[in-house]
């Protein structure tokens, strides 16, 4: 195969890998925003704790647990953590001015980061290779197994989530609450419960992203959620905040743009470019690619 083409395809695969992880994390942001109109700054930290949970299960328990078990346990713990942060910090501020809730979210994010710093210490720890990084040759190009798993499982999760939202009763309730909270309550929907469920699902998916991230990129450390969290948020905004499909699309787009910039243009400016995209989107199409324009009420 032509060397240039091969290089391009390998970079594309790198981008898809990163993109899948951003997509998983972005879904969490978008679901929470859709339902309570809050940017959960602490979402990146949930991703980080998810990775740490998996790390702990993989290294401290004497028996060799299968990957699936570790991941599910990490996702469950992260879901509980997400629900807890909502109950402790965000619930009381549902009627408060936006700026208060935002500041609290920032505070929560910092709190979780520093908590992790104290508990786990700042030194990065090596994540055990729960999924092999060895390459499988597909069409003459080596693709690491972890990449295949990441892309495959992410797409699977997104399909399951879409079905859940469209077909199940709980999914319909979620859509109702995000459209009009008060009306949903009047219709007899348990708004508190739905909000908790949203946080639980978002956090679980974020944790899954965290596990894949730490395996692919080797390490877990307390501040690992900051940058991916920020970029996943940018992805969510890009795709249309509140729109799950948009989050997935945005994740892949941002992941590929980042990788291609690093590979072909300059790694120096890749981060600035991604932030620049954010500013452009916010300025010219704040509802994102797949989002709808909402008029502000007086």
């Amino acid at each position: 195969m032509n060397a240039d083409l091969e290089l391009f395809i390998r970079q594309l695969i790198n981008g898809l890998n990163t993109g899948s992880i951003y997509a998983l994390i972005a879904i969490g942001y978008t679901m929470v925003y859709g339902i309570i109109k809050l940017i959960n700054f602490a979402h990146g930290e949930i991703m980080m704790f998810g990775a740490y949970f998996a790390f702990l299960f993989a290294t401290t328990i004497p028996t060799d647990l299968p990957f699936l078990v570790i991941v599910i346990m990490a996702m469950v713990l992260a879901a509980l953590m997400g629900v807890a942060t909502e109950k402790i910090a965000y619930k009381r501020l549902r009627t408060a001015p936006r700026i208060s809730a935002l500041i609290t979210a920032i505070g929560m994010s910092l709190f979780l980061q520093n908590l992790a710093l104290l508990i786990f210490k700042p030194q990065p720890k090596v994540m055990p290779e729960l999924i092999s990084k060895k390459a499988i040759i597909i069409f003459g190009i080596g693709v690491p197994q972890i990449t295949l798993y990441t892309i495959g499982i992410s797409i699977l999760m997104m399909i399951i989530l879409s079905i859940f939202i469209k077909k199940t009763k709980a999914g319909k309730a979620m859509r109702a609450v995000s459209q009009d909270k008060d009306a949903a309550m009047l219709m007899g929907i348990n708004v508190d419960g739905i909000i908790s469920l949203t946080f639980a699902i978002g956090s679980a998916l974020g944790a899954l992203g965290g596990v894949f991230y730490s395996i692919a990129y080797t390490q877990v450390y307390p501040t690992m959620g900051v940058m991916p969290g920020l970029k996943a948020f940018i992805a969510a905004v890009f795709g249309g905040i509140g729109n799950v499909g948009g989050a997935m699309l945005g994740g892949y787009v941002i992941g590929i743009i980042e990788t291609m910039t690093k590979g072909y243009i300059s790694s120096r400016w890749a981060d600035a470019l991604v932030f620049g995209i954010l500013i452009l989107v916010l300025l010219f199409k704040p509802s994102g690619i797949l989002g709808k324009n909402v008029k502000e009420k007086v």
């Binding site: 060397a3 390998r10 970079q11 790198n14 990065p124 060895k134 991230y213 390490q219 690992m224 790694s267």
Partner: protein, 373 residues
């Protein structure tokens, strides 16, 4: 009435006198380094190495017959904090000399104040070239970033014999950038640098950069950085199936702790090797392990040597006067040191060779000792 006045006068005079200056019955050395935060292992290493030297000195009778006291403050890796720490050491603790800072950024911030104060400064680990520039009273025990980069280039050309090389460094880190730029400057007269790539401090995903290197004609990669990022990069490189050797600087020290398998066969330059058979090295290693329970890093060795260098200078000078100490440091010729020898050029930089080490089966194997002049 007169008697009362006299008593009051005497008492206030004595009070004034004692408040004037901490009586010089101990020799006080200060260290500044990151004791908390992401880089705490470096600050703690320096503190421990210095402490070991201080304890040994005290057991042997101290400096100029007085007990040696080591006062350490946390810079948190931040220049502002470093300045506060230095001010505190100078004003509140009244140190006689500073073994610090640990990081170049902090040391540069402190340097201006130290020059104003004429404080004898011997930094064990700050490698930025400007640290000793135009500062008569500032010395360092380690070689500079530019020297390391240059020597690495010589090593890659003459020992590894690679003609095409890729350079990968951390653009957010002065140390990494310093070594990389010096390497490139030296290597371009010997071979070709086919790719120069950078990553940031916040990056975790190096796959796109490694892919570019793999697709190029590079036969070796110069990767100056610290253990955390280097370990991640080497792991991802191994997963991508890269087999060309990686070479690094003293920031790689201790990489074999967590990353021995992926670093196997790679090289780095260091201030000393734990496996060096010289008696002074082995004594140092044994005593350090006994006191602190872990193996000493090169930073600890440098701090240890720095304290001894300062002690020797003070003994040579016969006093704790700043000018005398500085003059003695200028003339110092310490041939027996863990990190080789300590003798300063007119800038305050040591004249040394770099120990090039290869990691084999998790052990440091000395390959060569290279000089850059």
């Amino acid at each position: 009435m007169k008697k009362l006045l006299l008593i009051i006068l005497t008492l206030s005079f004595t009070l004034l006198l004692s408040a004037c200056n901490g009586v010089d019955d101990t020799v006080r050395l200060g260290t500044i380094g990151p004791l908390t935060g992401d880089y705490s292992m470096y600050g703690v290493s320096v503190k421990n190495g210095a402490q070991l030297a201080v304890d040994e000195l005290n057991e042997a009778g101290g400096i100029l017959g007085k007990t040696v006291e080591l006062i350490s403050y946390d810079s948190k890796g931040d220049p502002t904090e470093g300045v506060n720490a230095y001010n505190r050491l100078r004003d509140e603790d009244e140190i006689h000399a500073l073994i610090g800072g640990t990081f170049s950024g902090v040391t540069l911030a402190i340097k201006e104040l130290a020059v104003e104060d004429n404080m004898p400064v011997l930094t064990p680990t700050a490698t930025h070239p400007d640290v000793t520039l135009d500062a008569d009273n500032v010395f360092r025990a380690c070689y500079t970033d530019s020297y390391q980069g240059k020597v690495a280039a010589i090593f890659v050309d003459e020992t590894i014999e690679a003609e095409n090389v890729a350079v990968l460094y951390n653009r957010d880190d002065a140390y990494s950038e310093g070594l990389a730029l010096a390497f490139i400057e030296e290597f371009e007269s010997r071979g070709t640098v086919v790719e120069t790539l950078t990553f940031g401090a916040q990056d975790d995903d190096y796959s796109s950069l490694l892919t570019v290197i793999q697709a190029s004609s590079a036969e070796a990669v110069f990767l100056p950085g610290y253990v955390a990022e280097v370990g991640a990069i080497l792991t991802q490189a191994a997963a991508a199936g890269m087999e060309i050797p990686f070479i690094g600087g003293d920031g790689w020290d201790s990489i074999e702790v967590d990353y021995a398998d992926v670093a196997d066969g790679d090289y780095f330059g260091n201030h000393y090797a734990k496996t060096d058979e010289a008696e002074i090295v082995q004594n140092f290693v044994t005593n350090y392990i006994e006191e602190f329970g872990s193996s000493p890093t090169a930073l600890a060795a440098l701090a240890y040597d720095a304290v001894y260098a300062m002690a020797n200078a003070m003994e040579d000078a016969g006093s704790l006067d700043a000018d005398a100490i500085i003059a003695a440091l200028k003339d110092l010729d310490m041939t027996e040191a863990v990190t080789g020898s300590i003798k300063f050029d007119e800038n305050g930089d040591p004249i040394k060779s770099i120990t090039m080490i290869q990691i084999i089966d998790g052990e440091h194997v000395v390959v060569d000792k290279v000089e850059g002049n």
